[in-house]
Symmetry: C2
Subunit: 200 residues, 2 copies
């Protein structure tokens, strides 16, 4: 019953947005009585935060399974980036976006959303590091992984009002190649040289 | 009076979000009578779209003025990226984000927002190409400029619920160096080589 309520909530966040999602609509869609719903989730905020958390747990396991099938060798980086790009174009991203944007102007919601956003951010970063085989002890590598995740987040946002899959694919192919070269070449050599020059 | 209404609308979008912005609140904040407001903007949708369009016109002129003061030579790319990063962390981005997200689940609003989103996207891309001195006739360069704009869009989104200025700066410094090397090195050489290899 809990899972049914959470899945109905995500569907409604995607279809109608945060302001169009009500606890009444959720209990109707899930086929669960209002009393039972209120027992599990006493407020709309409790419901939407639990829904995004639930979906993120489901997606993490799906991604781990998909990751096992990724190619090794030279085609790997592209495959990893396409997987991350698709992840940020999924219903989870859309539902989370609705939540983050609503939380921006709703302090009570923000208190519940901020820790979840941080946890998801950390987990996604860790997954990207592992999938890319990135060595974050080398200067600049951590920033390139972060940039990659901010890139797919931006692509996810661009995808919300138009289907952006083809453009996304071209951009990620190019970034995969650039990222490979940067990770292979010592990411911050040029930067260090430039900083030294600036200090002279 | 028109400008006052539009500026009050942007302020309210930033402070209270799309669903918290009403035409009544806008006329109160702008000190304009309801009748005069309805004369200029008969609906909330007309008002919010005009407000984001107005702010984007104002910001475009501010950016053009700021661009004239950018350094030349090796420090230019970083300076350009910081300027773009700050642009996507400004109230314009936040107001536009509120609009894009609301339009995702509101067909009438989407009809008005989609052409504006496309126009702003084209103009921002053109500005980035000029500021970076990027030669888009070379393979891969267009995709790297697009990736840069999707990156700052993702950074803008990350900035909405936490102040992300320090992290943004580090990421953009690294991106600037990687971008410089990629633009200097023939962006898609590695990719072409790889594609050829894959076809064998």
């Amino acid at each position: 019953m809990r899972a049914r309520l959470l899945e109905a909530t995500v569907e409604l966040l995607v279809e109608r947005g945060f302001s169009g999602t009500s606890t009444t609509l959720v209990s109707e869609r899930a086929g669960v009585s209002r009393g039972a719903q209120l027992h599990h989730f006493p407020t709309k905020n409790a419901l939407v935060v639990a829904a995004v958390e639930h979906l993120s747990d489901v997606r993490r396991e799906e991604l781990a399974a998909a990751a096992a099938a990724l190619p090794t060798g030279r085609r790997r980086t592209r495959a990893v980036l396409h997987m991350l790009g698709d992840h940020f174009a999924s219903p989870l991203f859309v539902a989370a976006l609705e939540l983050w944007v609503a939380a921006r102007t709703d302090e009570t919601l923000l208190e519940a959303v901020a820790p979840l956003e941080q946890r998801i951010g950390r987990e996604t970063h860790q997954m990207a590091v592992e999938l890319l085989g990135a060595d974050e002890s080398r200067p600049g590598v951590r920033e390139l992984v972060q940039a990659t995740l901010d890139l797919v987040r931006g692509l996810g946002l661009a995808n919300t009002i138009t289907d952006d899959a083809r453009r996304r694919r071209r951009i990620l192919d190019q970034w995969a190649d650039t990222l490979d070269e940067a990770l292979a070449g010592g990411a911050r050599d040029a930067r260090d040289a430039r900083d030294t020059e600036g200090e002279r």
